[in-house]
């Protein structure tokens, strides 16, 4: 088997609290990301999905276990080649759309002509043409999130981590943004890990779906979708889509009940 693009082995995360007891948030988790695959992670709320992403990004360190990217262990910082799109709006309100997207490139000291080419291409690609000179406050939530995706994209990361990037969008926009993301993934050849709470989104986008348990979050199932690389949101019409969605939900339902403090039948647990 070829070396995984990123690997989590035996990863556990405990959060210290002001009280004596630490909160066991996550793990142990073992997960390999193959180079160029699209993996989605679903789980009940509060199960540590975001923590998982932050661990993989190097934004936080595991309490136990190890994480590597391209064969190198993470050393408490975000390694080059990793791009992150956050759940919250992280557009910079004092910069125009164009300058927001060029932000990382300018810091990296890329030549001006190259920056112009990459940013203009990203603006067209993300459907932001005509808004290059606008400020984020003048855009809708979905457009601002596209600005953030474009800002990550122009740096040409080899591993793209997205934390519920479409969480605040309506369903139609979310499906269409998913299409754009698939196109981006195919063109860039990057490895993509997307966290979501929407089961349909997870099934539609992924090569593999990792299902997480209630806290402490562990991976209880990894589902291969078997989708072709050339896919889009119309895959929801495929008969396998319903079957996969039902399968993921059957796993997730029990865990979501636990997260709500209920048993399998939906009764409050003592």
């Amino acid at each position: 088997m070829p070396q995984p693009h990123a690997r989590l082995s035996g990863v556990t995360k405990l959060f210290e609290t002001p009280q004596a007891t630490a909160v066991h948030a996550l793990g142990p988790i073992d997960l390999d990301l193959a180079r160029g695959e699209f993996i989605t992670v679903v789980g009940p709320s509060g199960c540590g999905k975001t923590t998982l992403l932050e661990l993989l990004a190097g934004l936080t360190s595991p309490t136990d276990g190890s994480i590597s990217f391209e064969g190198k262990a993470l050393a408490g910082r975000v390694p080059p080649g990793v791009g992150v799109v956050f759940q919250e709006d992280a557009s910079l309100p004092w910069l125009t759309v164009w300058d927001n997207i060029a932000f990382g490139l300018r810091r990296a000291g890329v030549a001006a002509a190259e920056i112009r080419a990459r940013v203009d291409r990203a603006i067209t690609f993300m459907g932001l043409s005509g808004f290059a000179r606008s400020y984020p406050a003048q855009l809708s939530g979905g457009m601002r999130q596209r600005v953030c995706i474009a800002r990550t994209l122009v740096l040409e990361p080899r591993l793209i981590l997205l934390d519920e990037p479409f969480g605040a969008l309506d369903q139609q926009t979310r499906l269409l943004m998913g299409d754009e993301l698939l196109r981006l993934w195919r063109e860039s050849g990057a490895t993509v890990l997307l966290i979501t709470h929407a089961i349909d989104e997870a099934v539609m986008l992924a090569d593999r779906i990792a299902v997480m348990s209630a806290r402490p979050g562990r991976i209880i199932d990894v589902v291969e979708t078997g989708w072709p690389a050339q896919r889009n949101s119309r895959i929801v019409e495929d008969e396998a889509f319903g079957r996969l969605t039902a399968h993921v939900w059957s796993k997730l339902r029990i865990e979501s009940m636990k997260a709500l403090g209920r048993d399998d039948a939906g009764n409050p647990r003592p």
Binding site: R77, V82, G83, F86, A90, L92, W94, R107, Y135
Partner: protein, 250 residues
């Protein structure tokens, strides 16, 4: 001009018109107050003759120094206090009760330390203004979304670069409250100090006119100081508005 602005302007003009009428009709004793038109006329003459050049220069420099020191030290302290939660717990109650202390009682002490020159004045203006700037800085930093911190780390920024490229630009709209207060306090501190004990400056000129029963000069200078303070504050306000226009939802 908006409706509100027209009403505001009308209130101000109306106030001065009433004052003018009362003083002209003798309802207000001319030894107590002179008509506003006379204040303006006399101020114009003082400015034209250059009589205010020296005290103006003196006061401007003192206020500017006090303001810049307040902003600089306030920003730096705000950043440090924000970065160190232990220091924050220590500083918060002190900052909350800071303005309960009547700092002017220390003015004689400052004169004893620095001598009778500009520095006790700059110091009192600075002491007044700096806490407002610290509080505004902390308030601004508290409001920077947490995701900005993560963004800086994803871009592998060092602490200083993060402050310069992310934290400060994100906090700037909230810092304006501090700039405005620091400027107002610098004015109050410096002019009041000059008024109490100083050999020069606008505050001293007002006190001198008062002691010499020179009502015309006293009121002309008071008008000048008020107009000046309002103009500078309005300039800061305009700067703030320009900045916010970009950031606010259209």
């Amino acid at each position: 001009m908006s409706r509100i602005a027209r009403v505001q302007l009308a209130v101000i003009i109306g106030f001065f018109a009433v004052l003018e009428l009362l003083t002209r009709l003798g309802a207000i004793n001319p030894l107590t107050m002179i008509p506003p038109s006379e204040m303006a006329e006399h101020l114009w003459r003082l400015l034209w003759e250059g009589a205010l050049n020296a005290p103006m220069a003196q006061t401007f420099v003192n206020v500017a120094l006090a303001f810049m020191l307040s902003v600089g030290v306030g920003l730096a302290s705000g950043l440090a206090i924000h970065a160190l939660p232990r220091l924050r717990r220590l500083a918060d109650p002190l900052l909350a009760s800071y303005y309960a202390v009547p700092f002017f009682v220390f003015y004689p002490l400052l004169i004893a330390i620095f001598g009778l020159n500009r520095w006790p004045l700059v110091a009192i203006g600075f002491v007044f203004g700096t806490a407002a700037m610290v509080i505004a800085t902390l308030n601004g930093l508290d409001r920077v979304p947490r995701v900005m911190r993560k963004l800086a780390r994803v871009h592998r920024m060092g602490r200083l670069e993060e402050i310069a490229r992310i934290t400060m630009p994100a906090a700037v709209p909230h810092l304006f409250a501090g700039f405005k207060l620091a400027l107002a306090y610098a004015f109050i501190g410096v002019i009041a100090g000059e008024f109490i004990l100083s050999g020069s400056g606008l505050g001293h000129a007002i006190a001198y006119a008062y002691d010499s029963f020179d009502n015309q000069t006293m009121y002309a200078l008071m008008l000048f100081v008020v107009v000046l303070a309002i103009t500078l504050n309005a300039a800061l306000h305009l700067g703030e508005q320009r900045l916010m226009r970009k950031r606010r939802r259209a």
